[in-house]
């Protein structure tokens, strides 16, 4: 009699555990908060913003991984800019984020060399990087943004005006 009670209890617990697991595993992804993506409007100075949702931190994802993944996502969104029907200063077509690393309070963004295809003048350079820097420095713990092109530190873009060989801050604008 006692053995059958114990077996029944074990079975009941197993069913409850399996049910709990099933419910939890079928849950939709939780919200990970929102990211504010800045872009520079066509007046060359005013910032506009977009809000995109962030994936929540995943099980097993370390703090460092999560921060880096969020920074990568932020950089990609900033480089992509707003939808094409929103008047804005966009990076040159084809510009991609090759990677993002975090060192202390600085996020280093590696851009593809497509970014070199600037139209000339300060207008586009200034607007492109202002949006990128504002977006990344909006992340917790990020105060500055370093830029590399295809993995290499550059002083400026070719024929450019903006100094890129040291991290950029919001206060630079």
């Amino acid at each position: 009699m006692k053995i059958s009670r114990v077996v029944s209890l074990v079975l009941l617990l197993a069913v409850v555990a399996a049910g709990t697991w099933l419910v939890l595993s079928r849950r939709g992804p939780a919200s990970g908060g929102n990211l504010r993506v800045y872009y520079t409007k066509l007046d060359g100075t005013t910032l506009g913003t977009l809000s995109v949702s962030l994936r929540p931190r995943q099980p097993g994802e370390s703090d460092v991984e999560h921060a880096r993944n969020v920074a990568l996502y932020a950089a990609v969104e900033a480089v992509a800019g707003p939808p094409s029907d929103v008047p804005a200063i966009h990076f040159p077509p084809g510009t991609r984020v090759l990677g993002v690393t975090l060192h202390g309070e600085t996020a280093y963004v590696d851009l593809s060399s497509d970014v070199d295809a600037q139209p000339g003048g300060s207008f586009a350079e200034n607007g492109e990087f202002k949006g990128l820097v504002y977006t990344l420095t909006g992340l917790p713990g990020v105060d500055a943004v370093g830029v590399t092109i295809a993995g290499r530190t550059v002083e400026t873009l070719p024929g450019g005006h903006l100094e890129l060989d040291e991290p950029l801050h919001r206060s630079d604008w």
Partner: protein, 644 residues
């Protein structure tokens, strides 16, 4: 702006999960994609789908063909693919959930490791790349997909942004006053169906896939309201096309209408404690007609009124008072206004409020000052207006950058207001956020003392091997040098000493030098000479012809007065005044003296171009820059030197 996005990429959601990873299978998979064949060799097949290894040459070929990039190293849990759009597709080893940009989806099986190599679900990866894999008797093939139709309404206009995994060339195959049908050749779609729009002259969209599996076409039929106008499809990128429509009347809300704040409650947050005049509404004509008592001021009420465009905080004040307001910079979005010589008629208050406000606080911070502090839900548009019954603070829903951060005014017998980009005073003690003030942009006046106070260095932008921007055979280097020489002659006539970083069309450092060498050489000319001012002359340009105008770029605190003096002269130069822009430009950053880089006009804009190529206009703007330099020298004399 209303928006809904039709995006299908979640067929996986319909599939039941199977947590066991597929077994490794060595059978290669050949997939035709356009003219090429992609051969996957690191392939594992299972009932849940096909997995492909990220070190597979076929995987690399797929990424290259789609302009995508893999970010992953052995040992890392996360596998990121940045698509050519670009969008980050993020997989995690052992997790069926994956992300395509902000959209979270679920695959039928989780990515897994075989040795050190990550294996990803192929169908889900293809979907993120706007591709679909099909099979027929001849084998497997990839078909680009029309995956996005992003419908937005703004006023009476509607735009539909289409995006696909291949260049889009829409053709209008049927058109009548009530409908228009576009054919997108060569792309399939997972979006088949009908969607209601109901705004901007567009009733609905019907999406149909036609053609053959290997040569599909997608038909998009837009049902129109009477009187709606249709614009020609506009390609914004090879894979993006915008379809635009204009309705005959105001746009009705689309599928996801913009949230409208609820009407204000009968009694707003502060009315019971401080029953102000005219209820809670913003003061109107009746309020304006009320007499303003003289004598010491009293804050009698603070009310918050939500509206469709934001909220208004109305501070009811009787009597005469001065006020001063400040706001901190984003992301510390706090604002406070101090009403001087005023008494608070009631207890202190703390209340939370809906967007665009977070909270409002009211305090008597010292015997003579009432403070109303507002936390904003972002860098919101904010206007302070004195009224006959007090002060109205209008907070918009729209985010703004570089908003004025301080201002002052008075209420009572004399109503006045002013605002400034600079703080008038530091935040008072006890107000959180004071530390953020340390990074405010412009602070102390210059301590630079030129060793040669009569010397101005002019830097013609670019030159030699660096032509700068160029349009219709006109090089920026040539134009900048021409204006610089004209400016030099004018300044010499005014009695200045002038040095050009280069007076012929050459590199300052050396031909084909690095940007750093070239720019530093220009900076060195000014710094080594101990010049009083540095002015760099340029022409602007953009990807399209839209932007135009004159912009003065600065980097240092001491640059702004010089730029302001020049701007006052150039603002009527015939093009638009684009103002003064602070930036991280090399030459303005590294010169020790007040400096500005003047982008005189846009070579890329037809109107500006016509000015730039006119010698008379170049002489005119040179004269205006010279006049600005003269005005600056008068206003900011060098210590122990006679005025210029």
């Amino acid at each position: 702006m209303n928006r809904f996005t039709v995006r299908i990429g979640s067929a996986a959601l319909a599939l039941l999960a199977c947590l066991a990873p597929p077994a490794r299978a060595d059978a290669p998979l050949a997939v035709a994609y356009g003219a090429q064949t992609i051969r996957f060799t690191h392939v594992a097949a299972s009932p849940q789908g096909i997995a492909v290894g990220v070190e597979d040459p076929g995987f690399a070929q797929l990424l290259q063909a789609t302009g995508s990039i893999l970010t992953w190293k052995p040992g890392q849990r996360y596998v990121m693919v940045t698509t050519g759009v670009p969008v980050v597709v993020s997989f995690a080893i052992g997790d069926r959930r994956y992300d395509v940009g902000p959209i979270s989806l679920e695959a039928p099986f989780a990515p897994y490791l075989v040795g050190d190599e990550a294996y990803l679900p192929l169908d889900q990866l293809l979907g993120a790349l706007d591709l679909a894999m099909h099979r027929d008797a001849a084998g497997a093939f990839l078909v680009p997909q029309l995956t996005t139709l992003d419908v937005r309404s703004r006023g009476t206009a509607v735009t539909i942004a289409a995006h696909a995994g291949a260049p889009l060339h829409p053709r209008i195959v049927a058109q009548s006053p009530s409908a228009i049908t576009y054919e997108f050749d060569g792309v399939g779609t997972p979006l088949a169906g009908t969607r209601a729009v109901g705004s901007g002259g567009v009733k609905s969209l019907e999406i149909v896939q036609a053609g053959t599996p290997r040569d599909p076409k997608t038909l998009v039929t837009v049902a129109l309201e009477p009187g709606a106008s249709v614009q020609a499809p506009r390609a914004t990128d090879e894979r993006d096309v915008v379809l635009a429509y204009e309705g005959s009347g105001p746009a009705a809300p689309a599928e996801m209408p913009t949230p409208v704040p609820p009407p204000p409650p009968a009694g707003s947050a502060y009315a019971p404690a401080y029953p102000g005049p005219a209820g809670n509404a913003a003061p109107g004509p009746a309020a304006a007609a009320q007499p303003v008592p003289s004598g010491p001021a009293t804050v009698t009420g603070v009310s918050v009124t939500p509206g469709s465009d934001g909220s208004t905080v109305a501070i009811a004040v009787t009597g005469n008072a001065q006020f001063e307001w400040h706001r901190l910079r984003d992301p510390d979005n706090r604002f406070w206004i101090d009403i001087k010589g005023a008494q608070l008629n009631g207890p202190a208050l703390d209340e939370n409020e809906p967007d665009p406000i977070v909270s409002v606080r009211v305090r008597q911070i010292d015997p003579q000052t009432v403070r109303v502090a507002i936390s904003l839900a972002g860098s919101k548009q904010l206007d302070v207006s004195p009224t006959a019954s007090g002060i109205d603070i209008s907070i918009g829903n729209e985010e703004v950058a570089d908003a004025p951060r301080a201002g002052s005014g008075s209420i009572g017998s004399v109503v006045a207001v002013s605002e400034s980009a600079m703080p008038i005073t530091p935040a008072p003690l006890g107000e959180p956020g004071t530390a953020a003030d340390a990074s405010w942009k412009f602070g102390a006046r210059s301590t630079y003392v030129p060793t040669n106070p009569r010397l101005i260095v002019i830097d013609p932008g670019h030159g030699g091997s660096d032509r700068g921007s160029s349009r219709n055979g006109t090089d920026e280097a040539v134009i900048a040098l021409d204006i610089a020489k004209r400016l030099r002659d004018l300044l010499l006539a005014q009695g200045w000493q002038v040095k050009l970083t280069h007076d012929t069309d050459v590199d300052v450092y050396a031909p084909d030098d690095t940007a750093h060498q070239e720019l530093q050489a220009r900076v060195d000319v000014a710094n080594d000479a101990g010049a009083r001012l540095f002015v760099s002359i340029h022409c602007n340009a953009f990807y399209n012809a839209g932007p135009r105008g004159t912009t003065l770029y600065i980097s240092k605190d001491i640059d702004r007065p010089l730029a302001e003096a020049i701007e006052q002269q150039t603002e009527m130069d015939g093009t638009k005044n684009d103002g003064i822009v602070k930036s991280h430009l090399y030459v303005t950053l590294h010169t020790e003296m007040p400096a500005t880089l003047i982008e005189t006009a846009f070579l890329s804009n037809p109107d500006d171009y016509a000015l730039i190529v006119s010698p008379a206009w170049r002489q005119k703007i040179a004269g205006e820059i010279a006049a600005g330099i003269g005005a600056y020298a008068q206003a900011y004399p060098v210590p122990n030197q006679p005025p210029q």
